[in-house]
Point group: C2
Chain length 368, copies 2
């Protein structure tokens, strides 16, 4: 039996309900910019050693909550656990991005792919349960996965890429094979997120980190459609409580109108997006349907002195505009976040300025 | 005295005049994907050895025209010649991106910056004159420069960057210093492009390659405003002929509406942009004002077999839609191009499929 939730601001904002402040959490909030995270990672030996150890994963998930008044926790894990469970062999060399031991390039490779046994991801679900318990209801816990297309990028490239040459070559030359990969990925991601929900995740987020590299038309056909396939298979409630679903396409600002049709509650946007225009396009009217918007502070603005961090946070809040305050109905809401994961060199004290400013200024906006 | 122009399709399309086919040229069309380019570069010893030698620069500029029925030539040079002339020391290590010997980080560094003496860029103007003569009027010659912001990115970072941490830190912490850098860059770029025009360039293009990494609001304030400062200083005609101006912000699709206010003739767009929507937004009506649109084929689609290259080229042409055919007035026009420079591993024979398809299909579209 989990403790009752003490701060439901994030969940309410996801569902476009009025809150007394704008909730904030930060992508990659448990990460290398925190010395305490680095200390735990050193004990764990490697990133995957950290992610697969329930105790360590719980410890690092809670670390940023001790420093900052964040309104949500996010499972400490990686977006690429699903292809790892498919047998591709995920690893992270010190100071480098993810690498797969084997990649998917040929028709035979694709034919060998299958939705993995969820038992291979038990370490994730155990971490979710452990973190949820350790949170004691302080804030809700977000579960997540990479999007089918983003997983495909890494699976085909075998790691990060500057130009996505291998995955795009496969997509342009053999769209049938790309579709097969995406279908398998979508079904696997849906099973995976449902298991996270059953283990205790109170919201789920799909990271379409590389959707923005696609051509218009192909984004809709491949990435957006496969995210829709994930969403169509997700459970909507758990133990009688609605589980909000967030979709974030980095670089997807031009496609917000298309993304509005997704069966999810919130859309993440990066810093290139004008929040006022995004709100007008997809945020919905008071009492009407719409999407909550999550974002969109430039993580690099955290390198400026705290006074400028605060000024930039205020600019982002004001860009979104007047908060929805009618508790009797739904309306446009913002979940404050970065537009990308926090940078490893970020000065931790600048993050305090961001979180505190968002809380204080968003409260003040509600009193205007 | 230069030879009369035999193919003015590109210049007419820039000025939104009707043409009998959609003109095509390719960013970085003289480049490493061509074996003959690699042979000349080997003779030159280095990229800068190639760019600063009038004979070599002329030779490689004309190479792609021998292979493909391209409708324009572009000066062989680099977007970073201006900061090199400011004394920052540009070099290219084999297989790597550009590097500056010294970078601009402090207030003192910024105070030391000045618009360079154009004599230091004489090798560029000499190359323009030589190429123009060698072209013998086959196609028009495009001159170019990096945008003030894009130059600033490289000047502050000292080279390429994944996250633009240094340049964004400076921008967020000291917007006054960033403004100073951009003002100097804008004035230098304007002088530089005017000299290229006087030397024989028949159109000029500003490459805002890194405008798309900025936050909404800051793009307009810093990158767009400094491009406007360049444009305001450019000569509009040379020897009685209008010199079209093209501005390309990679990743700037969301800001096309803002860019429509620029005093230029054409806007470049990358593959994430829906050409039909872009045409509706900025392309203008027949007889009315508007911008020509340049783009937006995904360079990675050139890795698919020629039949798929052709199919994708047709998709891009059809996305833009019905050609403007009324020779008595202006109207929406497309200049076919990639959405980014051609990749060095592109199979040269696939480029033939692209160029030939664009010519054949765009002619067929005009006969519907």
């Amino acid at each position: 039996m989990n403790a009752p939730l003490l701060n439901d601001t994030f969940l309410k904002a996801c569902l476009r309900q009025a809150t007394d402040h704008t909730p904030i959490w930060l992508m990659r909030q448990a990460g290398r910019y925190l010395p305490e995270y680095c200390a735990t990672r050193a004990k764990a030996g490697s990133f995957m050693g950290l992610a697969t150890n329930v105790g360590f994963a719980t410890e690092v998930t809670l670390q940023p909550l001790e420093r900052y008044a964040l309104d949500a926790a996010i499972l400490f894990s990686d977006i690429l656990t699903v292809p790892d469970a498919m047998g591709l062999g995920l690893s992270f060399a010190q100071g480098e991005g993810p690498r797969f031991e084997r990649n998917i390039r040929t028709e035979q490779d694709v034919q060998g792919l299958a939705v993995p046994d969820m038992n291979r991801l038990k370490y994730v679900f155990d971490a979710v349960t452990s973190i949820r318990r350790a949170l004691k209801g302080r804030v809700p816990l977000i579960g997540f996965s990479g999007s089918p297309w983003t997983l495909a990028c890494y699976m085909v490239e075998g790691g990060g890429s500057e130009d996505y040459r291998a995955v795009k070559s496969l997509m342009y030359a053999r769209p049938d094979l790309m579709q097969r990969i995406l279908d398998i990925n979508a079904d696997a991601v849906a099973l995976y997120l449902n298991e996270q929900i059953r283990a205790g995740a109170q919201a789920v987020m799909v990271f379409d980190s590389w959707g923005g590299v696609m051509a218009d038309g192909l984004f809709q056909r491949f990435s957006l459609a496969s995210v829709a396939r994930v969403l169509s298979q997700l459970i909507r409630t758990h133990e009688g409580v609605t589980i909000p679903r967030i979709v974030f396409t980095k670089g997807g600002g031009q496609w917000l109108g298309d993304m509005a049709a997704l069966d999810c509650d919130a859309l993440g946007v990066d810093w290139t997006v004008n929040l006022g225009k995004a709100r007008a396009l997809v945020g919905g009217a008071v009492g009407g349907p719409g999407k909550a918007l999550q974002g969109n502070f430039d993580p690099m603005a955290l390198f400026a002195p705290p006074e400028q961090v605060a000024a930039e946070a205020i600019r982002v809040l004001e860009d979104f505009g007047a908060p929805h305050t009618d508790a009797s109905t739904t309306g446009p809401t913002q979940i404050f976040n970065l537009g990308h994961g926090i940078n490893q060199f970020t000065p931790p004290e600048h993050v305090s300025a961001l979180v505190d400013t968002v809380h204080a200024h968003s409260r003040a906006m509600r009193k205007r």
